[in-house]
Symmetry: D2
Subunit: 364 residues, 4 copies
């Protein structure tokens, strides 16, 4: 059980290593009749593409997503959608040295402990390239959500200690760090330049908002919408924390501060505030869903570090090659895609929740 599948009805299975022949995903359970093209997917692939600024690696991946099955005459058929990206830039010689030692902050040691050996080329399965399958699947989920009037949007909330203090949606795509605050983005850029000069790296926080989701989606116990978002996001490499709504801050509030009053807004039941982050008891409450993911600093730094080699000897290493000083900007689209997958799956799971709706469905 190597755990490469995610989701219940809208279920994805990703595969591939950093320097293998290809990477991809199989999406099983996507409804038939969704208009889908390779272009729909490519738009998302571009957002995780490196080489877009000085803060992402210069490696020109040019990842091109190919749909191999499940789409006919421009629409999904209900059959599994297989999407592959073939690796073109396999400069494995850059990575051969790391076969001999364990990089701090990476999974080299744990893979060896688990499997007895590892595909050491560029991190193999533990590489950030593993997210290609997630993004391809997320693009399909996002297309499905769009048909239902639902959107997911992620962005960089902070890089190190520099936090966006305003939210201008249009700014997000205007800066290479995907921050909704140009001024904060400028400061973060300065901070990153300084770190790069030291051969060091930074982390940050990603925030994601889901809009348009009706109330009633998600399940009460283990398949809580919040619990599935937590797993989906924490399963992304380098994510060390997850919170929804007030999150950790809720632990400092009192009940009277944290509770959201229900109100009647023009005949509709709404909440006066949204401390809950759009989920109550694991089920969407009709408000905007807001959650955050904490991303650790890039583990690959060029400054010297102490570690051990496979023989257990302590050595000093300096990691060469092309590495992002911060992975947060490239992880933004991954977080957004995982949110889309969780949301699409929860919507499909919810269709069988009420007997009268089922009778209605089959009575037609």
């Amino acid at each position: 059980m190597s755990g490469s599948s995610f989701g219940n009805i809208f279920r994805i299975t990703t595969w591939g290593e950093s320097h293998g022949k290809a990477l991809g995903v199989v999406i099983d359970g996507c409804p038939a009749g969704l208009a889908l093209s390779e272009e729909d997917i490519q738009v998302y692939m571009e957002r995780r593409r490196p080489g877009q600024s000085q803060f992402t690696t210069a490696r020109l991946e040019g990842d091109k997503a190919e749909i191999l099955s499940g789409v006919f005459e421009g629409r999904t058929t209900g059959s599994p959608i297989s999407i592959a990206v073939f690796n073109k830039d396999q400069r494995s010689k850059d990575y051969s040295e790391i076969a001999s030692y364990y990089r701090p902050g990476h999974a080299d040691y744990t893979f060896d402990q688990k499997y007895g050996f590892r595909d050491y080329r560029g991190g193999g399965r533990s590489s950030g390239r593993e997210t290609i399958g997630r993004v391809a699947a997320g693009a399909v989920a996002a297309k499905l959500l769009k048909e239902l009037g639902i959107s997911c949007q992620a962005y960089t909330l902070s890089i190190g200690n520099i936090k966006a203090s305003s939210f201008n949606e249009e700014d997000i795509l205007k800066n290479p760090l995907f921050m909704p605050d140009m001024s904060a983005a400028d400061k973060a850029a300065e901070y990153l330049k300084a770190l790069m000069n030291e051969g060091n790296s930074a982390g940050g926080i990603i925030e994601c908002r889901i809009n348009g989701l009706p109330a009633g989606i998600g399940d009460p116990v283990f398949e809580k919408l919040s619990a599935n978002l937590a797993k989906a996001v924490t399963s992304i490499g380098a994510v060390k924390g997850f919170e929804i709504g007030e999150g950790f801050n809720a632990s400092y509030l009192t009940g009277l501060e944290d509770n959201d009053s229900f109100i009647n807004e023009n005949g509709q039941i709404k909440k006066a505030t949204n401390h809950s982050g759009g989920i109550l008891g694991g089920i969407s409450d009709g408000s905007e869903i807001v959650f955050r993911a904490a991303v650790k600093p890039t583990a690959s730094v060029s400054a010297p570090q102490r570690t051990v080699n496979k023989d257990g000897e302590e050595i000093d290493i300096s990691i060469k090659g092309r590495h992002d000083p911060v992975i947060v900007p490239r992880a933004v689209v991954v977080v957004e895609c995982m949110a889309a997958i969780v949301t699409a799956d929860a919507l499909l799971m919810n269709m069988s929740s009420k007997m009268d709706r089922i009778i209605d469905f089959y009575g037609r």
Copy 2:
């Protein structure tokens, strides 16, 4: 799909509502030959029992766990272990009023939206009593882990802004808040008394440590040990955040600060620090696993609140009845139990990871 099952090989299915006939759990996939008694389970049940101090509800649940199947002559048989707790104190009259309106911070509204109606007695399935099944199953998982020399221990790290500033393991069970720092526990008690007088409530943070787990446990992508812990913990009602190791703080560190150097300690590979919280790339690295859960303040407060009734009319309510001013102390054992379940499951899943170990297993 109401999502009441959790785990892959060690798989639990919980059932029951606050004021139904009984609550319980079925554990499928527990290995045969584990010594197990009702007493083993009752010890854990007592830790989530209310009525233990002024900060937990006076309701005398006296929850008695009965093993209905899967154990023969004191040992598990490999068949599903069914454990039930029959409700004795079903004062449903206390709760009848809440049928008519939506309590802020509760799942009343979202259940109605999802299912069309709800079992309003004491919160029904969304009650904290749902955790009875989790704790019973966690007791079994903990017994299994003990046989392998592995322990999970959770405790209260903070209540509101009052944080434990020292860690004395023996103090944890000496104060009703389960804090590892008696001085902080005293201050937190004062804080809670003040809130109770106002009809208000508090939240807090729970920390959990897993010791004795070998390196190599967990899977690389969606079944990361960290991702399963995140889901397990975030699926507990009132949990709004999860973090592992440095967690959100990792987003403020640099790579050189956050990376843990590998060292040779008397011939064994260890880490000089443990910023990772014991997991690298989703797989245990042999260090102590440390994670935290943020718990929101109790939603049921007796001070007046504004909300709407089922007809959508805005009303002012005051929630009566017996409610904990803070649920953190009672949630401690739930967090610990979910950690035990995730860990036991990951250990069983890992047994098929290497071909040579499989040949060895069947070659005997």
Copy 3:
């Protein structure tokens, strides 16, 4: 992984041993709002009850199904439905001898090989009493199907070589063997009496028909409706074969004989014949679904048999106690219940198959 769960959305988990405290089932994923009472379930329990004729054991089980959760004010709530039957007649002394040897045709030896020991009281988990959970869950599934105008009906097609040669639905419940042909039932009764006198036993074939199922239910590859029926039925103890439509006979036909022509019947597409048994490519075709299960003769016979004891010594045994000379009549309701569970699950799974229906569902 002891494999006690079945189904995808409508998912059941059974538990319990022949002579433990209780047996039961948890049904997760049953839609909210289905009218359900203990009486609905008891009707099915009675059909598997022993002591109804001279061909079923004299043991008075009097199994009484109790609903412990998931139903409120007469309707399912969407929460897991826990149903238990408490054992009353636990004469375990009858069974203590079998602890020392391996009964031919039973699972004693294989359980010992798998688990190292076994609950030997009445067969433990491998007893026919394991089907109590299946029948309780099947009663709920059947109630759900009824709301959609769908019925499942099983009956005894043959006992040994005596086969029903006519089909009179009203006869099925008029004879203790549940055959749709009174004349065949009489002959089978004679045959069984003769076998009982010899301390021997018989097998037979059960047939099941599902009516009212619309076309389009089931999935194309591994979750074929036929494949799930095959698993569901073959998972019942003593079932050694499964076939649908022409079944094994199809292997002797030519394509022109076996193919069902599509026809236009008053403006509706129908099939001129039903060799397929109502399923094409794993998906229901709108015709009656017809399948059969082959049941082996009861393994417990009182005539002497040779076997080995736990020390490997060959011995001659004679199995005492109350045993059915044929289990086919009591298995009829189990087959019917498994068919209902598979069908209900397939219907719920199918709701997310088409994008336009999903938009329609959420657009309301």
Copy 4:
């Protein structure tokens, strides 16, 4: 939920349509360290290849399996193994006519009912080419089993009424029908020629034997080894029946005839006979496992048939193109591969069945 995944720990997900870009499979949960090459897989692909005799279609598929991930330096890594076969011979013009009507015995009508439309090129997802993924995965499972000394072997037991009356293992690969009896193979060939001249087709029965499996594999209730074999085999297109050991014949036997006595053979517990087909109570008993699958005649026949078109008008059709007069020989390897997948999965699932073996495993 389109149901394209199968297995619990050794879990496969197949994808692809007859005339899409490619078909393939992702195998998740294959242990690390298994020696594996494309040649290992190609050997199995060749066995399902058409164009090998006059009884299989002339279409030269030349299916070439490519491993895209999960193998490094000749060994599996524990990461998902993605295998693809790119379609070369996409003569879709041959199939365009079938878009307008529903072929008898095919899934055209049921797909349209389920999904609203279908990929009509060569049957799309319901084509026999869907089995490419099964065979590729089965080759990997078979390699794994070989390391444990376990083999699966399938062959043609009968074509129409012509049944192999002897079993000569070496004959199986010597005749294009894969029968273990050359004389029967000759008669069957004559029979098929006659049917081809009439534009008709035949079915048959496939038998499969699994040797070397230790006792104790499989689970007692829903994950019975027999139940999983039943599902695996019945999920293959055109399979209409499944039986194990005596199968349907068991229904005609008495208990004394059908029960297998346990005996002591040189200090080892064995069975004197094998009516059970190697499985008791769903768990392997150490004997050879023997099961059979009934395959219906090829639905595509060139002789005229009546059907309806999409407008519901009755028409007479004659199916053109290249079609096997019998699919049994090509299905032999598919049955064998599904058996290997089920067996490998059951072996991995069984590793966590006993506490003492787990302690032993982790104590090393």
